[in-house]
């Protein structure tokens, strides 16, 4: 089996049917099993804890200053130094009397499941990794705290701003779960999706990334003349990289509503002109691709880009780190948004698809739940976010937290794209995780479209058929989202 960012084991899948996001496709599973009503209403964290001081901007959750805090961090790709060396000291600075018990482990699920069953739970959990907790099941069992108070609380750096205003739009939505949907998960790592290229190559050739599809075609001709494939993706195992681009373009043309309709299986969602226009625009670019790319896997195409044979590659902000070992000297990753399709696009060129991943949860039965919320609030401070980026080479959902940091070229361009996009964020697609049958069909039809076997019109028709089939299938549990 070839390894793709989303190739995961059955075990992982079982664990992830719940709510934790995948690195390459966050939000896949926001609340796949959250269909039923929750058995127990999660207690509100806003309730003042007994004997606590009154709420203030510095202590919005009435944390008892000397209450011990227990933090469990997934010690994986990001390690846990960001917690032990930054976030926990930040908490201690705010509450010098508190003792912090830290645990950095990999088997979050196995270790914590018995503790949830026994009611002796930590105060903050970084629920991630292969063996993570089934978030959906925890939500249904009333084990997770509704994080709304956190997002409504004043932020650490500027008490006049609420936490929800200092984080990237879409972050809260990405952590929704349960029915009615509430934010139970704080997804902390920021992932942006767009077209990746070698800034040095473009500089050398005197090219600028195209802002419209007309420019894209002109560019494609220029690249072709230089024997460089203007745009390429790996059809064998990563066709979803290409359908992300089509969906982004569709959203830019018709707004995020297009993607919400697709997620909600709305009638004729795929037959919308925006989808057809997006598919047609990308199919035009697909014509410049080497047909052999349909038979390659993502690492092969990524390596070809490193060798200067491919100009643009569709991917997310993990790409630079993923390729770090293979990137030659003088290759400088950069990301740009997808070009605009029409002059009447509802979203500007600068809009990017961005999503948050790497979930943090606060158990509802935690002894120091207020402290858990406060810990998350400290994480979302500029200092906490900056330290995280420095230690893990990944951006966080905190806006403007990278000021004064020396970022890698790729991250710099992602940060720039994030700033330029502002609130113009293309939403994620939940159907990828909700309706796997539909997603499988989309992969198939994306290859057929991009390698010229079907037209954009047929693409829309076939996807609509698949969506209708999913909708009519009573054995598939339906989900909806409004944001």
């Amino acid at each position: 089996m070839t390894i793709t960012p989303r190739d995961i084991t059955r075990r992982q899948l079982l664990a992830r049917v719940g709510l934790t996001a995948l690195v390459a496709g966050p939000f896949l599973s926001a609340c796949a099993t959250g269909g039923g009503g929750s058995q127990e209403a999660a207690p509100s964290a806003a309730a003042p804890s007994a004997g606590g001081a009154s709420a203030s901007a510095n202590n919005p959750f009435n944390v008892k200053a000397d209450a011990p805090l227990e933090v469990v961090i997934f010690k994986g790709g990001y390690s846990d130094e960001y917690a032990t060396q930054s976030h926990e000291p930040l908490y201690k600075k705010a509450f010098p009397g508190a003792t912090i018990k830290h645990q950095g482990i990999q088997t979050i699920g196995q270790t914590l499941t018995p503790r949830f069953a026994g009611g002796d739970v930590p105060d903050v959990v970084n629920n991630s990794g292969t063996d993570n907790l089934d978030g959906g099941a925890l939500i249904n069992a009333g084990q997770l705290l509704d994080l709304t108070p956190l997002f409504e609380a004043p932020s650490v750096d500027d008490p006049t701003k609420k936490v929800k205003d200092v984080i990237v739009p879409g972050t809260i939505e990405s952590g929704l779960g349960g029915d009615p949907a509430k934010p139970y998960t704080l997804n902390y790592v920021y992932t942006a999706y767009g077209l990746w290229y070698d800034a040095k190559l473009f500089e050398k050739e005197g090219w600028t990334p195209p802002k419209t599809f007309d420019e894209f075609k002109t560019f494609a001709e220029a690249a072709k003349a230089k024997n460089i494939v203007p745009f390429g993706y790996a059809g064998k195992n990563a066709s979803y990289y290409a359908y992300w681009m089509i969906l982004i373009s569709a959203a830019k043309i018709g707004g995020n509503k297009i993607l919400l309709d697709i997620d909600n299986l709305a009638d004729n969602a795929w037959n919308n002109d925006a989808v057809k226009q997006a598919a047609a625009a990308w199919a035009e670019i697909g014509k410049y691709m080497d047909p052999a790319y349909e038979g390659l896997i993502h690492t092969e195409v990524q390596t070809q880009q490193n060798q200067g044979k491919v100009a643009f590659y569709p991917s997310g902000s993990w790409l630079e780190a993923e390729q770090a070992k293979d990137t030659p000297e003088g290759f400088e990753y950069a990301m740009v948004p997808t070009p605009s399709v029409t002059a009447a696009d509802q979203m500007p060129y600068e809009a990017i698809r961005a999503a948050a991943a790497e979930g943090f949860i606060v158990p509802s039965k935690a002894k120091n739940a207020a402290g858990g919320l406060e810990y998350l609030r400290q994480m979302l401070s500029k200092q906490g976010a900056r330290d995280f980026t420095e230690k893990t080479k990944s951006l966080t959902v905190v806006i403007g937290a990278t000021e004064g940091l020396t970022l890698s070229p790729g991250l710099t361009s992602v940060a720039a794209a994030q700033t330029a996009a502002g609130t113009n964020v293309v939403t994620f697609s939940s159907f990828e995780g909700w309706y796997k049958e539909l997603e499988t069909e989309l992969r198939k039809q994306t290859n057929a479209l991009m390698f010229g076997r079907i037209s954009a019109e047929e693409f829309a028709t076939k996807m609509q058929e698949a969506a209708d089939k999913t909708k009519a299938d009573e054995s598939i549990i339906k989900q909806t989202r409004n944001v």
């Binding site: 089996m1 070839t2 059955r10 899948l13 079982l14 049917v17 099993t33 059809g235 064998k236 195992n237 066709s239 080497d290 047909p291 052999a292 349909e294 038979g295 390659l296 796997k436 049958e437 499988t440 992969r443 198939k444 290859n447 057929a448 390698f451 076997r453 054995s475």
Partner: protein, 311 residues
């Protein structure tokens, strides 16, 4: 409470037999019979495999199968593989094993294989030593659709444009069949060689003395004498034709693509189970697959039945 038949002698005798049978039978029942029965049971439910709660839905999963175009595509592919792969493999394997054992003409009054046959015997068996997945990975490089692919670069020397072995929907399944044949031939060469070695040499020599040429020797003497072995090989290969999972999983575009062109039932079962969490429906597919295999095996054994030649 003694019964007449249960004499100490009988106890000893049956106890002896039972003690030998118990362990393998238990293993067989636990690991083969019971999972199969459970699959049959699951096929009648809407189980999703992640919760102990499920309902019995009768034959709904099976009626669903009839309307599932991917299922029928997979069945058609099995049909094609079944028609082509065993036949080609057996023909090639018979040809090779004849050459290796009898094709070299007479030497010192004995029929021998072609020159270097002991070396070829080892080489032909190589693919059998490799795990299927390794074969798949190997052929990823061989069939790479770019100019730099091993097969395509060889073709390039003759001015042939790169061929998309696995990316052309019309070609992809044939390519997979080709890999299956490549992988299978070695084993059947060895199998048929053993069959031919079991035939007394005098028969061949007598035929040769009577002036039989190599064609006659092969079709009139060798083939009838190793027919039993061929028949066994046919059943093995036929059952293999209902598998092909690993090769398709590793080699095909998008697992079973492009456009379902290479998908096979085990792959769809895998997808239904581990991607869609439809354990019930996947089990129904599994049951359908079992019946296909059983039907094939029964039919083959019946159709190819011949009188056994004693020697």
């Amino acid at each position: 409470m003694r019964r007449g038949r249960l004499t100490p002698g009988a106890v000893r005798k049956w106890g002896f037999i039972a003690s030998f049978l118990a362990a393998p039978l238990a293993i067989y029942i636990i690991f083969f019979v019971s999972p199969n029965l459970q699959a049959l049971q699951l096929a009648l439910t809407n189980s999703r495999g992640i919760s102990p709660d499920f309902q019995y839905v009768g034959f709904e999963n099976f009626t669903r199968l009839f309307g599932d175009e991917v299922f029928w595509a997979a069945v058609r592919h099995h049909g094609l593989i079944l028609l082509v792969m065993p036949l080609v493999t057996i023909v090639i394997a018979l040809f090779f094993s004849f050459l290796l054992n009898l094709g070299g003409g007479q030497r010192n009054g004995q029929l021998t294989g072609v020159w270097g046959s002991s070396f070829y015997k080892v080489v032909f068996f190589f693919p059998q030593v490799l795990a299927v997945v390794i074969v798949g990975v190997l052929f990823q490089a061989v069939l790479n659709p770019q100019k730099s692919g091993i097969l395509n670069s060889v073709l390039g020397w003759f001015g042939v444009d790169p061929v998309g072995w696995l990316i052309k929907p019309d070609l992809a399944l044939w390519t997979i069949i080709g890999v299956m044949v490549w992988q299978g031939v070695g084993f059947y060469v060895v199998l048929f060689s053993a069959g031919m070695a079991g035939v007394p040499k005098e028969i061949f020599e007598a035929a040769a003395l009577d002036g039989a040429n190599r064609f006659t020797l092969f079709f009139k003497i060798t083939l009838p004498l190793v027919w039993n072995t061929v028949q066994v090989g046919w059943v093995y290969l036929g059952i293999a034709a209902f598998d092909a999972f690993a090769l398709v999983q590793v080699l095909s575009i998008d697992r079973g693509g492009p456009d379902n062109a290479t998908t096979v039932l085990p792959l769809e079962i895998f997808r239904q189970t581990f991607t869609y969490y439809r354990f019930g429906y996947a089990s129904a597919m599994g049951v359908a697959l079992v019946f296909l295999v059983l039907t094939f095996a029964a039919l083959t054994l019946r159709v190819t039945r011949r009188e056994r030649i004693e020697y």
